[in-house]
């Protein structure tokens, strides 16, 4: 005759809850109690799982709401400016302009690499493409002004940056001063 305990045991086995590798349970007295214990602990853990699943979106919502978006990386602006300067220098045909274009491209690459190292870009965000600026009436004077501004902006940042960035940005500032000397 099938006892209620046997029915539970069959149900438990049918759900695949019995542990693999355990020897077959011996038919002894008190077995029903043991099985009920397992069923209870199993149902508790299932409840916990359901609760966790239900709470997960809530947790995500809370996390995203509590963390404000980080401020833009100051080096990002320096990299953008370096790209713009390189684009401006390319509109000129003098050897000095070619030198400046190459140097500012190197600056842009190094600065962007540091920005991406600290905050890896999302794969969906494409790297900013420099928009072709309207050619100013006097490109050489505009280039000089741009380099002067770039040296200044990089210099202003240096005292407050973390030390590993201070060397990079300081070198970029000095590099812009060096490029200005080439133009003079």
């Amino acid at each position: 005759m099938e006892t209620p305990a046997d029915a539970v045991s069959a149900a438990v086995d049918a759900q695949g809850i019995s542990f693999a590798g355990l020897p077959p349970r011996p038919h002894v007295l008190g077995r029903g109690l043991a099985i009920w214990g397992r069923v209870i602990s199993d149902s508790v853990s299932r409840r916990r799982v359901l609760l966790a699943v239900a709470a997960a979106p809530l947790a995500v919502a809370c996390t995203t709401e509590s963390a404000p978006p980080p401020p833009p990386d100051p080096l990002s602006a320096l990299a953008a400016q370096a790209r713009a300067d390189a684009a401006l220098a390319k509109t000129l045909t003098t050897p000095a302009a070619a030198e400046i274009a190459k140097a500012r491209e190197t600056h842009a690459t190094l600065l962007q690499a540091e920005v991406d190292r600290e905050r890896p870009p999302l794969s969906s965000t494409a790297p900013p493409v420099p928009t072709a600026p309207p050619t100013p009436p006097d490109p050489l004077a505009a280039l000089r002004t741009a380099l002067d501004g770039a040296a200044r902006e990089a210099s202003v940042l240096v005292p407050s940056l973390p030390s590993y960035r201070a060397g990079l940005v300081g070198s970029v500032a000095a590099g812009c001063a060096s490029l200005l000397e080439v133009l003079s």
């Binding site: 190197t106 240096v158 201070a166 060397g167 300081g170 000095a174 590099g175 080439v182």
Partner: protein
Amino acid sequence: MNVDAVQTALGTEHAALWTYGLVSAFLGDQAAAVAEGSTAHRARRDVTERWLRDHGATPNPPAAAYLPPAPVSDGPSALAALAAVEQDTCAAWKGVLERTDDKDLRTSALESLTAAAVRATRWRKMAGTNPASITMPGVASG
């Protein structure tokens, strides 16, 4: 340690002063620019020694002589020696930038780095080096 980095920078300032003295005989037509560089390095040396004393360190004295990367025997080799010592100065001050969080020392190190980069560019331009500019002053490959 930033005291060690500043001592290294002081060493390159001593070397730069010595080199400007060495080349002056070969760059008579550039006497004003040589004097300007020499004065700038002397001022930087004095400021650096003062900084070290203020921070409880004894400034390292200059060496009796320095070895330029190539023998100096005429105008072009003199210009090359000046460009080389200015680039060494850039590297030393960039080293200070990377080893201190002291804002005043950073500002001073950046001034030294920038001024040395500009002088190095001037000497390279005069020597006809191509490119005359230094993309990343103080960086070994720059």
